[in-house]
């Protein structure tokens, strides 16, 4: 069943579009970083930027674009997998075969997550690889980036799968996009507060923390970035304003996975009672 869902996923035109766009992006990124002049880059104190600084700048800026692409793919694939199968009448055929509803639910919904994670690995992995070719650097922690990728995307995936069963495909996509944008904004605020201690006292910071706790869509993304970014860079402080400052405690890395698991099982309970 998982193979069937995966086959169905990979045959979608959307994936071809994403593939072409990814290739275009990687070629443009390659051209861009190849023509960049590290000497023209200066830190706030006027010191010329190192390779690590250049890699930091390149990865953090590229990461924002990539995250939108991978997020978008996860939302579109996740929101459509169950409603499409049900609307087409195929779900009733699958459910009339000798397999449990859990197997159908898990196999069908895990396929878009796997596709999104693979696309994420390809995009972030090649971006880091191309960067390291022109600006050699040592990443903070590759294992952290690798582990965080599925954790990051699982939060979005579980949320959109659950909502696609409650409100339907298109409303689920819109709700997820809007809430994610909100959660990312609040997440940036939390990161910013790490560099600006006065912010810790404000109510706005408290609200931002609560939002990122209730909707931990972007926590995993920051872990991916933290893992990929160079170990030492003078630009680190300045780039805190872009939302990559400070460390991420382990519980924050794991938390989105726990959150996604809870939503996944709520989704299963709904699927279990659903008329197919």
């Amino acid at each position: 069943m998982f193979l069937n869902a995966l086959e169905h996923m990979t045959r979608r035109k959307l994936l071809l579009i994403v593939g072409i766009l990814s290739l275009c992006y990687l070629l443009l990124f390659w051209r861009g970083i190849a023509s960049a002049d590290p000497q023209s880059l200066r830190t706030e104190s006027g010191v010329p930027a190192s390779n690590a600084d250049m890699a930091f700048a390149a990865l953090s800026i590229a990461g924002s674009m990539l995250s939108v692409m991978v997020w978008g793919l996860t939302i579109i694939l996740g929101a459509s997998i169950l409603p499409d199968e049900m609307d087409a009448g195929r779900m009733s055929i699958w459910a009339a075969l000798p397999q449990s509803r859990f197997k159908i639910y898990a196999s069908t919904t895990l396929a878009p997550l796997l596709v999104s994670v693979i696309v994420g690995y390809i995009l972030f992995g090649f971006t880091a690889l191309i960067t390291s070719f022109y600006a050699p650097f040592t990443p903070n922690s590759i294992p952290l980036a690798v582990i965080s990728m599925p954790i990051w995307l699982s939060a979005t995936w579980a949320f959109v799968i659950l909502f696609s069963m409650i409100v339907g495909k298109i409303p689920a996509m819109l709700i997820t996009f809007i809430l994610e944008g909100f959660a990312v904004g609040m997440g940036n605020m939390v990161e910013l507060a790490k560099g600006v201690p006065e912010l810790h006292e404000s109510t706005f910071y408290t609200v931002a923390r609560i939002v990122t706790f209730i909707l931990p869509f972007e926590r995993g993304y920051r872990s991916v970035q933290m893992g990929l970014l160079p170990k030492a860079s003078l630009l680190e402080e300045a780039l805190a304003f872009l939302g990559f400052g400070g460390d991420i405690p382990m519980w924050e890395v794991i938390y989105p996975l726990v959150w996604a698991s809870i939503l996944f099982f709520i989704g299963y309970r709904i699927f279990l009672r659903k008329d197919l």
């Binding site: 069943m1 193979l3 069937n4 086959e7 169905h8 045959r11 609307d87 087409a88 009448g89 195929r90 009733s92 055929i93 699958w94 459910a95 009339a96 075969l97 000798p98 397999q99 449990s100 197997k103 009672r273 008329d275 197919l276």
Partner: protein, 300 residues
């Protein structure tokens, strides 16, 4: 193993304020039986079929499919279901779809599917993308996918939907073959002629309630007349007393009771008027349907 393929006891189902199946809905289907579920649009036929398969969760009552609750995946071993409305992925070919199903059901051979497809006149379409087929071609493929091999129980919801007369005939013979090989067949169709030729049992559903469930032959009532096929209907009518009604090259002659049939046949044989056939005028399935569902009593 129980002899009952399907057992439904006291189920009810509501969709919001609409009652799809009323309470105390009971029905049993033995192995190898071919049952037609009949009723007007919205009567609850599809809901019943889906409830038996575990696709719709009833509000109350008990269902057993192959002796097990439909929640148990083992209850659906050897079971096939063709829904009324199905849309296959456009990129897939019939063979790819067959392989997808076999990944889950593990019960057939590809050669059986090819043979069934050939029997349904779609053997040449097996490597063509489903998105490039007509509605009728896709329906034939769908029927082949769900009837190939030797399934234990087959649920078909309007299998002839969108088919031309030739296609309908092929589907009918495919279903008849399933019945002959001992599969239990549950058929939901509005084409009563098709049902009459394939099924030996019928269940009539009206507004969510089971109003009749019996063998087709037992449901069919004597219509109070005899049909005499003769090239000289007027002459035959005069001989029998003139109370008959000429209808083309046949004579519909009233008969008070079914038991008077043998005496009448002797009388006809003694008339000396040429005739080619005599039969009791019994209700067709359409007549039964109209009587039970529409409440009509005199349908000719």
């Amino acid at each position: 193993m129980t002899n009952k393929a399907i057992s439904v006891e006291g189920i009810s189902k509501r969709f919001g304020k609409t009652k799809a199946l009323t309470e105390n809905f009971n029905i049993e289907v033995s192995r190898g039986q071919s049952l037609a579920i009949l009723g007007a649009n919205g009567a609850g036929k599809t809901t019943l079929m889906r409830a038996i398969l575990g696709l719709t969760i009833p509000d109350s009552g008990t269902i057993r499919l192959n002796g097990l609750s439909p929640i148990d995946p083992n209850s659906r071993a050897g079971v096939r279901f063709l829904p009324e409305r199905i849309s296959f992925p456009k990129w897939a070919t019939p063979l790819q779809m067959y392989r997808q199903f076999e990944r889950v059901r593990h019960e057939g051979r590809e050669i059986d599917f090819i043979h069934t497809a050939e029997g349904l006149a779609c053997g040449d379409l097996l490597n063509r993308k489903l998105g490039k087929m007509s509605k009728g071609q896709r329906q034939r493929v769908a029927v082949a996918l769900m009837t190939c091999g030797t399934p234990k129980t087959v649920f078909l919801d309007e299998p002839s939907s969108g088919l031309d007369p030739a296609g309908r005939m092929l589907v009918r013979s495919t279903v008849a073959e399933l019945v002959n090989q001992g599969s239990t067949v549950v058929l939901n169709s509005h084409l009563l002629g098709e049902v009459e030729k394939v099924c030996d049992w019928a269940a009539f559903i009206h507004k969510g309630a089971l109003v009749a469930h019996d063998r087709l032959q037992d449901l069919s009532r004597f219509k109070g007349s005899v049909l005499i096929e003769t090239p000289h209907p007027d002459q035959m009518n005069s001989f029998l007393g003139g109370s008959g009604r000429v209808k083309g090259s046949s004579l519909v002659y009233p008969l008070a009771e079914e038991i008077g049939f043998s005496a009448l046949t002797e009388q006809i044989a003694a008339s000396g008027v040429e005739f080619t056939g005599i039969q009791l005028h019994k209700e067709s399935l359409e007549d039964i349907f109209m009587r039970i569902i529409e409440g009509e009593t005199d349908v000719s």
